[in-house]
Point group: C2
Chain length 454, copies 2
């Protein structure tokens, strides 16, 4: 019996599909190398995930795990011959424990659904990303997603108290810990977090929740230059309930206005930088006052030239819509980068990349924006072409510059296949060898997401 | 050549001592099974650590790594035949990077020295423990130490951005990342954090720093009962700059007064519970006002019966001295437990343990205190005897009760040897098997801290 026959025999054709598999399962938001999986397995239970992996492991059948397919690194894209294991039927909140302030959620649940369920119970799931409506919490954990609130609450990793996962051989590791502090042996969940489905499949997650804040106070600041941005960041960082500090460069800011009919920038930033600042707290009036006074001081000091302070939910949405729009529509050959750098060096990095690309492609435009307080910039250029050779050349320029700046080729999106050739720009041969050693120990037959990360 | 001869030949007798080894290296603060190591290796460099481990690995020579020897789980206590590898000569701050807000510190540095160096540069290293003067940062990382400020800043793990460590075979893994967000491949530092020296030896650490707060505002609250404690915790938790919330039970509170000449409790808690509350911020007057108003409200609601608000550094020290004293002096047979539990169940757990112990040892006294906001209580009993059989019987009662409550046998001290027999109360056979699999993959000859954790 082949692996596929065994899967059908064990799980049935309601779970295992072989024909007319939707194109949806062929690639992720990276659009990288669309490939049809040899079979699509959509289990409803952890036991079915376990059974599927045990069969694949026995047969040496490779498996790519899929969540919301919003990844930008190709980590969920099938390679020829892969079975696709989609967690999309394993959805919903298993439990919210108000006393422990935790929620236990199935991996296929969208982030937004989990956030709303937490809110309903008076809590907040405190990580957040633009793709919340489609991205699944399982994918967030597998990629250690970052997003807009890392400055206050950390990456997805910091939100995971426990999880249930399945190893390559089908072993179910149930570590559904709800305790904030637990040093009883190795912290096994780390094997599943941020390893992009190469060491195991996450099926269920215990997230830490926090009391929902009564209000968010958001402002958009026009800063004359990057030094002014850094000065404002230093002031706002001292506010303990600062929950976001995001920056947009003028190219990005302007293209949003041009390309997105609905978005009108409320203030002009000229050749400066736009910063989105958000406080989350329990004292809306106090926070409005604090924001006004901090902006007032910044204007006096010349680090802010104009500001728009949200005074309604619509204002807040308008600000975030700009930041989250992403200049992705209809720009030919727009490339996505997700690099990590020392915060102070980001603007210089952007300029360096721009100059180096312009030396070769004079029409290059870079649309940078990002979570600069966390040292993360999405430095997205277009040189007007998306042919693979050009893309590779641009990649080289960007990642070599990252290496020069001591940065990371991926701050939050992960490595997948897209950044795999450049992993050595951020990690040493010894580190990569140790990753392989871990991979060999946990997945000796190499069935889990082969060709990704290491 | 034996392993010991090879160590002396390679490293010299200034680094490797065979005779007159001080008794200090025989046990840690647990006092567990004092054992002289067969040799004491005190390297000055990472290369020497690497050379020592490579030799030991080739010879199958077992090694116990030692830091400040303040552990309470026996993790740093030699077993017969072990070489002791002390990091105490690898001290000092390698670098403070103000722009990145990071410090790179050698593993043998005491926590206090690292904290003071950070403060000198205007930053705070935001984890803290009572043993700060002796405990080393390497030990803190190896045990994922917790302490007094977990409620705001998380465990030691959350403070580590990067590290340099040495594997059993002498491979130096240099992952001295300074970036807040870095998803470039597996997060290898997790292999060294909280694994108690069984997977590798930490030599250098990059810690995340935060701006030093301008002030700390501390209060001691008398709460009539545990429900009142929980109600106060719920209110204070909403203050984003709450940095500690610690609780002492009356037996603990009273014994401190009795046994520690210098400490006079400033308020009477009767049969209630004492809570230490601390805000760390930049607005001392505002925080004093906030604390006064919150205490005022709590008094009105009956959840606080009396309070002492620190108005000087001496006041603050007096409060913390009580909490950190620990009822350790001269109480015969006092046992230390470090259990994790759902916060809401801690008082019931304490009472249950007390009753179960009293059924057998009517004179039992339990001295509980701890970081209850994090679900961590040091539920320290004495039944008046420290003979090993009695200790084992008490351990069984406590850990079986922990298992019943769905708790963790170690919230912050680690497993070491002391809690190893009870690991199965908190972790499944599958989890323990996976820990062993990791151990075998990374330390195939089993030389690193054998007999500890798994």
């Amino acid at each position: 019996m082949t692996a596929i026959e065994a899967l059908v025999a064990e799980l049935g054709d309601g779970i295992v599909e072989l024909h007319d598999i939707s194109e949806r399962y062929r690639t992720d938001w990276s659009g990288s190398s669309p490939t049809a999986p040899v079979a699509l397995v959509r289990p409803r239970t952890t036991e079915q995930v376990s059974a599927a992996l045990a069969i694949c492991d026995r047969h040496g059948q490779t498996v790519v795990t899929q969540g919301g397919l919003t990844g930008l690194a190709g980590g969920a894209v099938p390679r020829p011959g892969d079975v696709a294991l989609s967690l999309e039927r394993m959805t919903g909140v298993d439990e919210i424990d108000p006393a422990a302030a935790t929620m236990t959620v199935w991996a296929g649940t969208t982030l937004e659904a989990a956030q709303l369920a937490a809110l309903d119970a008076g809590f907040e799931l405190t990580y957040d990303l633009g793709a919340r409506g489609t991205a699944t919490v399982g994918g967030n954990v597998a990629t250690n997603a970052g997003g807009n609130r890392v400055i206050r609450y950390g990456m997805t990793r910091e939100h995971v108290l426990g999880l249930e996962g399945v190893l390559a051989d089908g072993t179910v590791v149930s570590s559904l810990n709800k305790l904030l502090k637990n040093n009883a042996g190795y912290d096994l969940k780390q094997l599943f977090i941020g390893t992009e489905g190469t060491l195991g499949v996450v099926t269920r997650i215990v997230f830490r929740l926090r009391p929902a804040p009564a209000s968010r106070t958001t402002a958009l600041l026009a800063c004359p230059d990057y030094d002014a941005v850094l000065s404002n960041l230093a002031s706002f960082r001292r506010v303990p309930h600062l929950s976001a500090f995001e920056v947009m460069w003028p190219t990005y800011y302007d293209v949003i206005a041009e390309r997105r009919g609905g978005v009108t920038p409320p203030i002009d930033i000229g050749a400066g930088r736009a910063a989105v600042v958000e406080l989350s707290g329990d004292d809306p009036d106090g926070d409005l006052g604090l924001m006004e006074s901090m902006i007032g001081q910044a204007i006096e000091q010349g680090t802010v030239t104009d500001a728009f302070l949200a005074r309604s939910a619509a204002d807040t949405e308008a600000i975030w819509a700009m930041r989250e729009a992403g200049p992705t529509d209809g720009i030919v050959g727009l490339l996505h980068f997700d690099v990590g750098l020392p915060t102070g060096d980001i603007d210089r990095f952007v300029t360096t990349v721009e100059q180096r690309l312009a030396a070769r492609w004079p029409d290059v435009v870079v649309y940078p924006f990002g979570h600069i307080a966390d040292g993360n910039v999405h430095c997205n250029p277009t040189v007007g072409s998306d042919d693979p050779e050009t893309v590779e050349q641009v990649d080289h320029v960007v990642y070599d510059t990252v290496a020069e700046f001591g940065g990371s080729v991926s701050a939050e999106h992960g490595i997948g296949t897209v950044k795999k050739p450049y992993l050595d720009r951020s990690r040493s041969a010894t580190e990569i060898a140790l990753m392989r050693r871990l991979k060999d120990a946990l997945d000796p037959n190499g069935i889990l997401n082969p060709g990704k990360v290491v």
